[in-house]
Amino acid sequence: MASKKLEIIAEPGKTSFTTRRVVDAPRTLVFEAFTKPEHLKRWMGPCNLTMVVCDSDFRVGGRYRFVMRAPDGQEAAFHGEFREIVPPERIVRTFVFEPYPDAEALETLQLDERDGKTTITTTTLHKNVESRDGHLGSGMEAGMTEGYERLDALLAELQVQAR
């Protein structure tokens, strides 16, 4: 259960998706890591991306804006507004990926602690299935009933063999 694997659960035809990940730390610390810019800059995004903007007015009604920059200079920006803050267990905020200003989603971050480990669950609710699939970068079509994991595994297997 306490696997370090990132689970992504996206049922076909639904407008939301859920991710789950366990980390070895109490949730008060995880909550801080998710909310304080000085922490966020240290871990959010892959190593090759730099967080060039990390503004966060962390209160209900406050706004945040993050900008990540790739080595080739390309930037990705997203922003939103905090809707609910329950330290150290829950944050609800809106999420807009700036190239798609109309596809505003509602994100819930839930932290559950057990035996010193914290399960991080995020649920992202989009207005429609297209926006959700766009967010996951999947272009997933109806009929995809087995979730991403089996497909991922197959694709990985096929790629190894194709090499």
């Binding site: 980390v23 610390l29 995880v30 801080e32 890591a33 970068g137 272009g139 694709l155 063999q161």
Partner: protein, 129 residues
């Protein structure tokens, strides 16, 4: 969707083709080498025309190609398109997998710092006693 560009349309066809378990099984079989329709039909409880239909979908999606040999027309995998699809699907996962791996490390750092801070506090405490 009319706003889709060519690459997105290609990917839609690819994911549509991948959405079927029989077609994924065919791809898995082809990853081990060329095969004819007959050979591909063998492990499935399916008629040759039914398999041919699946092959057509895979071919249109650019996932497989078929040889010229009019009799056998052996199928083989086209890994390029599959890689394209896998790359596309992987973006979101990659971002968060990488982030969480860095978070693991960072949380350890923070906890280690807290511990040493705790030790210093007790030391100071002793000194003042």
């Amino acid at each position: 969707m009319s706003g889709m560009n060519l690459a997105e349309r290609d990917l839609s066809a690819t994911f549509g083709a991948l959405a079927d378990p029989t077609r994924r099984a065919i791809l898995a079989r082809l990853s081990k080498g060329h095969a004819s329709v007959l050979e591909l039909a063998e492990p499935f409880d399916m008629s040759q025309p039914a398999i041919s239909k699946h092959l057509k979908v895979l071919e249109r999606a650019g996932l497989i190609a078929r040889g010229r040999d009019a009799q056998r027309r052996p199928c083989h995998l086209e890994p390029q398109r599959l890689k394209q699809a896998a790359d596309w699907l992987g973006t979101y996962r990659e971002f968060w997998e990488a982030s969480y791996n860095r978070l693991d490390q960072y949380l350890q750092e923070l906890q280690a710092k807290e511990k040493t801070r705790g030790v210093k506090k007790t030391r100071n405490h002793r000194r003042t006693r």
